[in-house]
Amino acid sequence: MTLFEPVKILIEKSALDLPYAQKLLRYFSETPVQEVDEIQQTKKTLHDYFSKNVLLITDYKGDIIKRCPGTRGALCCNYYVANIINGCPFYCTYCILHDYINCGSVMICANTEKFFDELRAKTREKFLLRLGTGELADSLALEPFVHLNDELLPGLKECKNVVLELKTKSAFVDSILKYDVADKVVVGWSVNPQNIIDTDEYKSASLKQRIEAARIMVQNGYKVTFHFDPIILVPDWQEQYRAVIRMLRDSIPGEQVAWLSLGGLRFTASLRKIIQDRFKKSDILSYGEFVPCPDGKLRYFRPVRVNMYRFMLKEIMAWNRSIPVYLCMESQQVWKQVFGSLPLERSALAHVYTPYPDTDLHEE
């Protein structure tokens, strides 16, 4: 069975004439198609049994690009997200999508022109807009099937002051290399020890495959990013994560790492329930001690988290001291404990944490 094999396509009538929608229908020419008035309405009625492996093609009316919602009590890194694809064929136990997108289907916004209109309206001279497509999806997991890069990358070449991060757990990078966009695109990998990939990141690429794909990108002049997120405190986590960092060190020159993030395992109470119910074999909830945080998510108890970040930071610095490391969704207090200072006081990160000139106050 391939990674993505939709049994049905639901397409919004208003999307029928969009060029990308037409292409998608060609890519999946064997799949039965049903036209619907409004995908959002239809989505609500999709039932567990029938919605898995349904591809929804929409002419999305809302904002495609949004400021990353961040989380209460955490420092904001001024990231923007473009939710062109919602849904993922991988199956990570801890994935927040289980909680957000409950119908299990994949939705693609076919109106990519709107994406570029929004992007042009948001970029500003002298400020680099960091944009990612991996908030409600894996940026590249569906690439061999939906060829989104062919829609985005040629247009992106013309856009100024933007860097698009394609965050993935796959090794599907070939389609990027077709375009000369090393100054506009960074590819980011979520990394974890292979043990954890085996037990908690089903269907995703192995650690070796991810690192090899990163090496290929670097070889082709691209910068890459890495995300140790979520870090999971399995019994011998220190040895395991140290080994991952050493593997990275052996393949990727530190100077080519645009940024690297650290984030401990965190989940909402409802996601916790989903993990307990669906992933009986996963042990991730058993390790570490979790406490509710001001944003309602459960995280490892603060001293445990701080200790974990300090360890990771030390190992990363041993790889290369110039890698900009930041903490994902962490409070000032934790930042200070780990780094001794806040990101704005750290030169390597100041440009990231300087508030982006607000193009979209009305969004908030």
Binding site: G73, K280, S286, V291, P292, C293, P294, P303
Partner: protein, 322 residues
């Protein structure tokens, strides 16, 4: 479908064949009184099976009638297949609200194993009919519940353990199911507490690499359950605390230490020092109650004194870097 109204002698009916029985007996006292006054009026529904008849609906009426010495009963004989009869029996049991969760689980097992109804049809057609949402997970739970030992089913029924709780213990490790049933009978925890206990046992078991039964056989937990000086509520709290402490040793130790330090401050009892929940945050808050200037001054003096205490410094240190 052909229906024949007739009178059958009790002997023609094979009472022992309970294939179509779905659900438990209902209030037979009342039935007995009705029979005293009216005799058997509502016909039993039966279907022919070889030389005799099987009851599709009316087991309790049959039993009461026989007890009353009635030897002939009005019946409606239905001439249809087993599956239709079974579906009728199910609908009837639901209508009479005579099904508990074990009956439902049994009925679903018959549909699946005997009538080979596809899983998806059971989930979408029958689960909602029994009042459940049509989800795979619920179906799995009900299948497990059907496999409970008869003694476990009996205990749950006799002690009126609620359906939600039975669903909860359906997918716990089999080796602790008896213990959990006993615990629910003895300590009467709410559904949320049962959930918490199960989660804690599960996580301790995963963390320590010990089977759940071994976690539950911890002498400390046993001694709490055996402590005759405590009532059920007290036992339940201590039991949960003990599990929580074992699951979260660093957190429990730190919170205990913070508590101790706060007690050492001997704050005026009109002052409340509030630490950030679970030490997520570094801001402490104060609440003070006073009615006049003098009381406020007194509180201020107490606070000043507290600020100079060694334990106050220690408390701040713990909160800053637990």
């Amino acid at each position: 479908m052909n229906k024949i109204y007739s009178i059958l002698s009790a002997e023609q009916i094979n009472r022992a064949d309970e294939f179509f029985r779905v659900g438990s007996s209902y209030n037979s006292d009342m039935l007995r009184r009705l029979l005293d006054e009216w005799g058997v009026i509502a016909p039993l529904i039966v279907s022919r099976h070889g030389e005799s008849y099987r009851i599709v609906e009316g087991f309790d009426r049959f039993d009461c009638a026989v007890l009353h010495g009635i030897t002939e009963l009005p019946v409606i004989e239905v001439d249809t297949d087993e599956f239709s009869c079974y579906r009728f029996a199910i609908f009837n049991a639901v209508r009479q609200e005579s099904c508990d969760i074990f009956d439902i689980a049994q009925a679903l097992a018959v549909l699946s194993d005997y009538f080979l109804v596809p899983r998806q049809d059971i989930a979408t057609e029958y689960l909602p009919f029994f009042g459940f949402s049509c989800r795979d997970k619920i179906l799995d739970k009900l299948i497990t519940i059907h496999k409970f030992d008869p003694s476990q089913k009996k205990l749950c029924r006799d002690e009126c353990i609620e359906t939600d709780k039975i669903l909860l213990i359906s997918d716990i490790d089999r080796t602790i199911r008896n213990d959990m049933i006993e615990l629910m009978i003895e300590l009467r925890p709410s559904i949320n507490k049962v959930k918490q206990i199960i989660e804690l046992i599960d996580e301790i078991s995963g963390r320590e690499g010990k089977p759940p039964a071994e976690v539950l056989s911890d002498p400390l937990l046993r001694s709490i359950l055996d402590d005759e000086a405590c009532n059920a509520g007290q036992k339940l709290n201590r039991f949960r605390e003990a599990l929580y402490g074992r699951r979260n040793p660093a957190l429990s130790r730190t919170l205990e230490l913070v508590d101790r330090k706060i007690r050492q401050l001997k704050l005026d009892n009109r002052i409340k020092l509030i630490i950030p929940p679970y030490l997520e945050g570094d801001q402490l808050r104060l609440e003070a109650e006073f009615e006049n200037k003098e009381q406020l001054e007194e509180i201020a003096r107490n606070l000043l004194q507290t600020a100079g205490l060694k334990s106050f410094g220690e408390l701040l240190d713990i909160i800053k870097e637990p």
